[in-house]
């Protein structure tokens, strides 16, 4: 760029004896325009192959996503979640199924501003509604993320700050998965080795209640859930501690009650040898409900007096990922979740989980950076509060291409 300007200046000086002042000015403008065009072309040529970029004056828009095929053989036929595995006495036969619903599509932008970089992301998958037409397998899109971050502030729908800071690399979820995606307003102070978040998030409490065999939604929330999180990053890995505080309220004609629930979530990853590493998560809470195990336990029980009795939930998981070669890796993981749901809930429903645990072992292969094939074996047990037990095994297959 500097060389080009010197060259242009040289040409202009050389020509100054031959041209009038106005002609020199025209030439100068033409040289500037040409210089800008060359800069733009150079910038375009530097863009990474395989990335579609639409560059306006300030905003850069990127498009991407993935195509993923999931195959699952489960014995018995069940969803592989802590509170979904049926009791052994109620189990159905084995089942094989496939779907491409976990394919995703995202658009993201970035725009520099006086408040820092403004970044947006909009992402969908195809878990919207269950296919009813077996001939063509319709699957509706579902919103995953619609989030904007302006400097240190963010708002929209995205992952909760209470979630684990890293997840184990498995096809099935850990029994205690600490994961919620919801509307949030968040401040993030991210400097050096530390990051701090203050996040106000959508409140939603669910309860066991007389007259319903499954969890019912409270629909009486008056305050957003508050999550405070600290993260530390170092050469050995990263660790995050999140604290959840929520006001849980239930109201119906003639009675109402409110209680403060809380949760603590410690998670992280520790590098060991080469690319190998341990990933872990530990959780404890009272009334942390849907933040854990995909709402398998609820926030509490509505007693016969109309009071809320919060549910104590505790659990964790640990996984070790080992790289057999540059393209081949395995994760061995164990997860556990337990809860002390009110004894009164047993009079409302028999479908109450005491604890669940699972072991997963997989083999993932990357023939290309953006192509993944994997197989995973899972073994899980669910123990009911009334003493029953359910066991399940699954084999998962994954083929995925990121674009």
């Amino acid at each position: 760029m500097v060389k080009r300007n010197y060259l242009a200046l040289g040409i202009l000086l050389g020509c100054s004896a031959l041209f009038a002042d106005d002609e020199i000015e025209i030439l100068r403008k033409q040289v500037e325009e040409l210089s800008q065009k060359i800069d733009f072309i150079e910038k375009q040529q530097k863009v990474q192959k395989g990335v579609l970029e639409l560059v306006s004056t300030d905003t850069v828009l990127s498009i991407g996503g993935r195509i993923q095929l999931n195959g699952n053989y489960s014995s018995p036929s069940t969803s592989y979640f802590a509170s979904k595995i049926p009791a052994n006495s109620e189990q159905k036969s084995d089942k094989f199924s496939m779907n491409a619903r976990d394919s995703r599509f995202w658009v993201k932008t970035r725009t520099p501003s006086e408040y820092g970089m403004i970044r947006t992301t909009l992402e969908i998958d195809f878990f919207g509604s269950t296919a009813t037409n077996v001939s063509v397998n319709d699957h509706n899109p579902r919103l995953r993320h619609a989030y904007v971050q302006i400097g240190d502030f963010g708002f929209g729908q995205t992952n909760s700050a209470f979630n684990s800071v890293v997840a184990i690399e498995t096809a099935n979820y850990a029994m205690d998965d600490t994961f919620v995606r919801q509307p949030v307003v968040r401040y993030t102070h991210n400097r050096g080795d530390w990051a701090w978040d203050v996040s106000f998030e959508e409140p939603n409490a669910m309860f066991f209640k007389n007259g319903s065999a499954s969890l019912v939604k409270g629909q009486s929330d008056t305050l957003p859930d508050l999550v405070l999180r600290g993260r530390y990053f170092d050469s050995w890995g990263e660790v995050g501690l999140a604290y959840l505080s929520r006001y849980i309220r239930y109201e119906e004609t003639g009675s109402s009650d409110g209680k403060y629930g809380y949760g603590l979530n410690l998670s992280g990853r520790i590098k060991t040898f080469g690319l190998d590493g341990i990933r872990f998560n530990a959780h404890y809470g009272e009334g942390s409900g849907r933040y854990i195990a995909y709402n398998g336990f609820g926030a509490g029980t509505i007693t016969s007096q109309g009071d809320i009795e919060l549910t104590e939930i505790y659990g964790g998981h640990i996984g070790y990922r080992h790289w057999w070669s540059q393209k081949l890796r395995s994760t061995l993981a164990f997860s556990y979740i337990g809860a002390d749901t009110s004894d009164e809930a047993l009079t409302y429903s028999t479908n109450i989980t005491k604890e669940s645990y699972a072991t997963q072992l997989n083999l993932f292969y990357n023939p290309l950076k953006t192509l993944l094939a994997g197989i995973e074996l899972s073994d899980a047990t669910r123990k009911f509060k009334d003493g029953r037990r359910g066991d399940a095994q699954a084999v998962n297959f994954i083929v995925r291409f990121d674009f």
Binding site: V51, K108, E123, F233, L275, G338, T370
Partner: protein
């Protein structure tokens, strides 16, 4: 609950990290080169991080790149210390590559601060080229 406690005892026993133990400059250079390889591989793996939004993934990429940039700057500083027993010509080559590596590190830092990840592949190729050129000159196989 017993299983839960056993799990974290196990974690406590196996939780360990890799530390640089040698003081020798060439060995430190090798260790940092290995660290660079690992960091670059981890960058490739960010797309497979589960339960992350694209904004989260870009934040991860930024952190990896800033670490990568710091590591390259350290490596560039250590190249100067490797020249003592070399000829003047070799010293010049070392210094040239040290400067190039520092420029590569600054480019990566700039890219990370501006979230220009579409340029990542090209910038990493430039780093690899600098390393390769220096290694070739001094007959290092890697």
């Amino acid at each position: 609950m017993r299983v839960f406690l056993a799990l974290f005892l196990l974690f406590g026993l196996f939780g360990c990290s890799f530390k640089d133990s040698s003081k020798s400059t060439p060995v430190r250079h090798m260790i940092k080169s290995e660290k660079l390889h690992i960091l670059m591989r981890e960058l490739d793996m960010v797309i497979y991080e589960r339960q992350k939004s694209e904004i989260d993934r870009d934040a991860m990429r930024k952190r990896y790149l800033l670490t990568l940039s710091d590591t390259l700057k350290n490596l560039s500083g250590e190249l100067d210390k490797l020249v003592d027993e070399k000829s003047q010509e070799d010293q010049a080559v070392y210094k040239k590559h040290a400067l190039l590596l520092k420029a590569n590190a600054n480019d990566l830092e700039d890219l990370a601060q501006k979230y220009q990840f579409e340029l990542l592949s090209q910038r990493l190729d430039e780093v690899k080229q600098t390393c390769k050129s220096c290694h070739q000159h001094f007959g290092v196989k890697r």
